[in-house]
């Protein structure tokens, strides 16, 4: 399958500080790829390089089959969408007026505004001024704006930061629907549960370097200590190794009707990040 993004040995320096060091990854068409890392790890810098808002210091970066610098070209700008935590919406204009402007900039029919607002479940709020919207609603309008031209590739920079669970749920639903119609999504976050919920693959970025890359399931398997927790009806918990010898013990508990719950101990993505870097994701 074609790589929508192909990054090899990417480097970025700001004066003496190295923001990205030898970063390599690729994203296939239709994937939701999560770029996980704490604030200042280089996530936004990577998005800016991929969308030609920043020039790289070294390495090769291909986006939609072209050098990332080519994303500056007018015809390429319609191929991707971008959502950042800084909405870039006109606060004195209504939701509808904001989207109407972008429908014209992208040469879309007026009906695309309704379509985009329906997508984020905000059509009934279309007449509201952006300045009167909650943070969650503003983020949903920004999402509507970034997907209304049906981009092949969508960049999301911390899409649900500071959102309540209801709005986060709305955004997740929207992103899943988009992915179902073939949109490739590049998502940066420091929220590991978000990455687990949405992403097919994730990369851990720490101090400008990729520390691990893979699907959440594979990474959990790779970093699992292969133990099982057994909860008995009396409330006691037993952590046992996942092998034949311990299986006998489980069988006995089961035979005596003492077994309440049994589950494999898997690290969370946050645990793995901590194990790899010695620091937290936040």
């Amino acid at each position: 399958m074609m790589n929508v993004i192909d990054v090899q040995h990417l480097q970025k320096s700001f004066q003496k500080e190295e923001a990205l060091q030898d970063v390599s990854f690729s994203i296939k068409k239709g994937e939701i790829f999560g770029f996980l890392g704490p604030s200042g790890s280089g996530k936004t810098t990577t998005i800016k390089i991929l969308t030609a808002q920043l020039t790289r210091s070294g390495g090769s970066v291909f986006v939609l089959g072209q050098d990332a610098e080519e994303m500056k070209k007018t015809e390429n700008r319609a191929r991707f969408g971008i959502l950042t935590d800084n909405s870039g919406l006109y606060s004195r204009l209504s939701v509808e007026e904001n989207l109407l402007l972008y429908s014209k900039l992208y040469n879309l029919p007026t009906s695309s505004v309704k379509e985009a607002l329906d997508f984020v479940n905000l059509y009934k709020d279309r007449k509201k001024k952006v300045s009167k919207l909650s943070k969650g609603m503003t983020q949903r309008v920004t999402l509507a704006r970034s997907i209304m031209h049906k981009p092949e590739l969508l960049f999301l920079d911390e899409p649900t930061s500071a959102l309540d669970p209801v709005n986060t749920h709305h955004i997740y639903n929207g992103l899943r629907k988009l992915n179902e119609i073939g949109t490739t999504i590049f998502l940066t976050t420091h929220d590991m549960s978000e990455a687990e919920t949405l992403c097919n693959r994730v990369a851990f970025l720490h101090k400008g370097k990729i520390r691990a890359i893979g699907s959440p399931q594979d990474l959990k398997k790779q970093f699992s200590d292969d133990t099982i927790t057994v909860e008995l009806v009396d409330g006691s918990e037993h952590c046992i190794e996942n092998n034949r010898k311990e299986a006998k013990k489980v069988y006995e508990w089961m035979n005596q009707g003492l077994l309440s719950r049994i589950y494999r101990n898997e690290p969370t993505l946050g645990d793995i990040f901590m194990q790899l870097t010695g620091s937290d994701l936040i």
Binding site: K48, L54, T74, I82, G88, Y90, R92, L100, N107
Partner: protein
């Protein structure tokens, strides 16, 4: 260049401008000056241009500067730049509103001061070029600064120099260095206006027109360079 995009940006700016009273009330300044001048009963070219030059600075440059600085501060300019709109779509769309408002304000000011130029065509050409220059100046100032506050402070000396520069010529006898103010677009337009009221030569017309044109070209050259720099961090 795409007319639909230019029109969309113009309409967006119009809605924003009409709801932004802090900026939109600036158009009243030259009109009030014109009304006051009208009441004095004095008739001189310097006087006729008393509201016109401040209109260029307070409306054309200042409003353009505020509109773009606000877009920059709120990150909406970057969003526009990431859309398929080209440099010319954005700059033209963003200049069109200020151009229209300036034209209306200046025509009203000229009417209010009771000035009836002998040749509207020549003066109109100079006013058009001046508007192009002052729009460029406002854009340049906004692109050069980071916030609305910074931009509105940075434009103050520009307002002072270009509005009241022609008055400095009155002191050039005592301070010859001030003769340089003669080459300001605001001084050149007065010279041109004086020329068309008498028997004029082609040079009398061409020198001011070319001077304002050169100011415009230089300003827009730097504006475009800075705009391209603003597209990347």
């Amino acid at each position: 260049m795409n007319l639909t995009r230019i029109h969309a940006i113009f309409m967006k700016d119009y809605k924003e401008f009409s709801r932004n009273y802090a900026v939109s009330t600036m158009v009243l300044l030259p009109l009030i000056m014109a009304l006051i001048y009208n009441q004095t009963g004095i008739e001189s070219m310097q006087g006729y241009f008393l509201p016109v030059n401040p209109a260029f600075v307070a409306v054309t440059s200042f409003v353009q500067c505020c509109l773009i600085a606000e877009e920059k501060e709120r990150n909406t300019l970057r969003s526009l730049m990431l859309s398929p709109a080209t440099l010319f779509d954005i700059l033209l769309g963003k200049s069109l509103l200020v151009f229209t408002i300036s034209a209306i304000t200046i025509i009203l000011s000229v009417y209010l001061v009771g000035y009836n130029p002998a040749n509207w065509l020549i003066l109109g050409m100079a006013l058009f070029l001046s508007a192009v220059f002052y729009i460029g100046l406002g854009t340049l100032c906004a692109l050069f600064t980071k916030t609305i506050l910074e931009a509105s402070v940075a434009i103050l000396p520009i307002m002072l120099i270009f509005s009241f520069g022609p008055f400095a010529l009155q002191l050039s006898g005592k301070y010859p260095i001030l003769q340089i103010a003669e080459w300001l677009p605001s001084a050149q337009i007065i010279l041109l206006a004086e020329s068309i009221e008498q028997a004029y030569t082609a040079t009398d017309i061409m020198v001011p027109i070319i001077t304002i044109l050169v100011w415009s070209i230089i300003t827009w050259f730097f504006t475009i360079v800075l705009y391209k720099k603003t597209m990347v961090d």
